[in-house]
Amino acid sequence: MQKLYRLFASYGLACVLLLCLFALTLFGTLYQVDHGLYAAKQRFFNSWFLHTDSGLPFFPGGILVMSLLTINLIVGGLMRIQWRKRNAGVLIIHLGIIFMLISGLVKFVNSEEGHLTLYEGQQSDQFISYHLYEVSIWEISQASQVPQWIIPDELLSDLAHGKKRSFHAKDLPFTLVLSDFLVNCKALPKGPNWQAEGEVIDGYGFLKLPPEKENEMNVAGLHAEVIDANGHVQKALLWARQQAPWAVEVDGHRFAIELAHTAYPMPYTIRLDKFTKDDHPGTMMAKAYKSQVTRIHGSDEKPILIQMNEPLREGGLVLFQASYGPSTPGYQGPFFSVFSVVRNPSDKWPEYSLWVITFGLVLAFGRTLLNFIRRQNQRRSKAAGEQA
């Protein structure tokens, strides 16, 4: 146990971990060039280990390195160090770094990111993930608000290479079996010129495509089977770019099943009132664009302007003006406005941690400076005394 303590408290471990972080940052940045930002983040930073193509772990990933670094900072920086006034600055710096790492962990575990895309006059109380998918099931009705069963991304994205998973709920009269999740694919009428990935259903199959560098450009696909209590099976392809959900009838009830990007509810509704785009003179390149929106919360309506570097921060969400479209050359509108939406409980924590670190640095270096000045004064006084 003593050895373990010494190991976690050691400068050696800190150096190794910092070198690992350096390597992850360097190779993650290089990896991004060919594979895009999302893939690089997932492989190098949002992982416990880096794996070879055959699945063997060969290097610690960002989560493992930063977790060990946090332990190292706690054990070595707070427990082993002498708690004396002269170490106050160093202790506060360590606390600040730990706080920063914890804020990263909170963001990794508990944040939601996506976009809200609206044409003028449209409104929405949910935003859509850029990267994650979900399968939603609901009973078809004319009701304005409909209860849905949700199968989240973590239960879908591992269903590759023929792997199946069945889903049931006590209120659902059928079992849904999902399989063959494809990160990027195109649904096409099956012809002789290509091999479909998985079963061909109703003349259509999935053409597997290589993942796009920009992950949000990928279009996922899934094979789905609905099995009722009598064992009757209905099959379909679920494609993230389908224009209508798959509808099935079971026991006289009609259900819709859809694969789509994950939708996150917002605590209020945003309505786009006006989108304004200013172009550089003589070009079609946007110089600036902004959105006049209304934040609706019950009967309370508040007009808000969202533009570059002026996001809306409210209800635990941050809405940034991200882009607009369509971008077809010569297109004169109407345009839609795209807001990047982030729900991150630790949104401001890195800023706070920087203030803590700054305070610690001022304390540590200020103390050293004052000691230096004091020693210089003493030396000068001593020299003056000797001359006198």
């Binding site: 146990m1 003593q2 373990l4 303590y5 992982s47 416990w48 332990i71 427990m79 708690w83 006034k85 949910q126 939603s136 609901w138 304005s144 608000q145 409909v146 209860p147 849905q148 069963w149 949700i150 199968i151 989240p152 973590e154 998973r165 069945s166 889903f167 049931h168 709920a169 009428p189 012809g191 002789p192 010129n193 061909v200 259903i201 109703d202 003349g203 259509y204 450009m217 379909a236 392809l237 494609w239 770019r241 389908q242 224009q243 209508a244 509808a247 009838e249 009609r254 819709a256 939708a263 079609m284 390149m285 607009y324 479209g325 369509p326 971008s327 077809t328 050359p329 103390r367 004052l370």
Partner: protein, 419 residues
């Protein structure tokens, strides 16, 4: 000095913490009492080791529920996959022997058991013989001679794993009726190599090629040999039934007989309309095209359909060169640049009494706005004329561009420079 007499409470806390830490450190570093802290460390290590190991089971209960008002309202039991994927605007497959039309210009009789699929950017008509997913039959058109009969025959022979045909074999090919004229019938057996490069043995190809000075029409069926033989007669009947519009026969005769000296465009709704002169160019405006007004750099600027645009840019000199511009368009569609050989192999279309390379690129278009538009197609033609160069480009949703392909070639054929 930082926690001096000015704030005794902070100093007290500091001392307390210092003592506690010292005691904790002493306890922890003592081997005899190390067991007191070990559960915490072990738990932490266990967390590190196991955090990434949790896998959901094969059978999962759905526990996540939500109430939503933003749901698609177009779910309908019985909707076909093609309809759900928005690839069958015409609805369910056509009934047997029903007289049908594509884009109001192509009429045919669908053989028994065949299915009509959504057209693609390269295929005016896309069919599935015998309802078999491995079989395919389509009609496509290329401007000019489309590379010539020999080149296309040998391309198909190569797809079937066969050696190029000799001139004698070429001359001996049988002729069939197509669009009221004569077409060369090609029948091959071999190992079919599709787009993914995998060769499948025991396959056959039935094709017909009809060339006119303005355009070349291709009808091609590929299928396993047994299906090909079973559908052989149906294919010939299908060829015989193909015609353009209500005046298709007349149009085909006009294209097939250029010796009458008339400049005629391929079969188009706009054919026969008066030519328009604008900014030094005279042309026939195809049906459904409208003037989109002046725009920087654009000599001619049209809006086509709902979201497609087509415009002519005229630059001095070589305008940067044909290859550079074709590859710039490739890049806009997110595609790799073409090699010199690939550019040389592009189909040629008639333009200003010359033959210009026609580029068809499909992908996600990134224009000057920087935001990509999905499922787009680009048709582009570059022509160098010594002191100036012309670049005609059509860009829009792939289905809309596919439906305007013939109109694009027709427009090119009608284009004249006015002195």
């Amino acid at each position: 000095m930082f926690f001096g007499s000015g704030d005794a409470r902070i100093a007290d806390l500091w001392v307390l913490n210092n003592r506690a830490m010292r005691a904790f450190r002493t306890k922890f570093t003592s081997a005899s009492v190390g067991s007191g802290i070990s559960p915490a460390v072990l738990a932490l290590l266990s967390l590190l080791v196991c955090a990434g190991c949790g896998h959901p089971g094969r059978d999962v209960e759905i526990t996540q529920r939500r109430i939503s008002s933003n749901i698609p309202r177009n779910a309908r039991v019985g909707m076909s996959t093609a309809e759900r994927f928005g690839q069958s605007p015409m609805g369910a497959p056509r009934q047997q022997m029903e007289s049908t039309a594509v884009d109001d210009s192509l009429h045919f009789e669908l053989p028994k058991g065949w299915k009509e699929l959504a057209p693609t950017s390269m295929r005016l008509l896309n069919l599935q013989p015998a309802g078999n997913a491995d079989a395919s039959c389509y009609v496509s058109v290329l401007g000019g001679d489309g590379g010539g009969l020999a080149a296309n025959l040998n391309r198909w022979r190569k797809q079937m794993g066969l050696e190029p045909a000799t001139e004698e074999e070429l001359a001996a090919l049988p002729k069939v009726n197509l669009f009221g004229g004569e077409a060369t019938l090609i029948e091959l057996r071999g190992s079919f190599a599709g787009m993914d490069g995998s060769a499948q043995s025991g396959w056959g190809l039935l094709g017909a090629v009809a060339s006119t000075p303005q355009a070349t029409l291709f009808v091609k069926m590929t299928a396993p040999v047994e299906i090909l033989e079973q559908e052989h007669d149906a294919f010939l009947d299908f060829l015989d039934s193909l015609q353009f519009g209500q005046h298709g026969e007349h149009q085909h005769q006009a294209q097939a007989a250029p010796d009458n000296g008339e400049e005629s465009a391929p079969a188009m709704d706009g054919a026969g309309a008066e030519k328009i002169t604008q900014n030094g160019y005279r042309f026939q405006l195809p049906a459904g095209w409208t003037d989109a007004g002046p725009k920087t750099m654009r000599t001619l600027n049209f809006r086509v359909g709902k979201e497609t645009e087509c415009y002519l840019v005229v630059l001095s000199g070589d305008g940067g060169g044909t290859a550079a511009n074709l590859n710039r368009w490739q890049a806009q569609m997110g595609l790799e640049p073409l090699s010199e050989e690939e550019i040389a192999a592009l189909p040629r279309v008639p333009m200003l009494h010359k033959q210009a390379p026609l580029l068809l690129a499909e992908g996600d278009y990134v224009g000057m706005g920087g935001t990509p538009s999905m499922d787009m197609a680009l048709l582009g033609v570059a022509l160098e004329l010594g002191d100036h160069a012309l670049f005609l480009k059509m860009v829009g949703p792939d289905k809309e561009v596919a439906s305007q392909r013939t109109a694009f070639i027709s427009f090119l054929a009608s284009l004249e420079e006015v002195q």
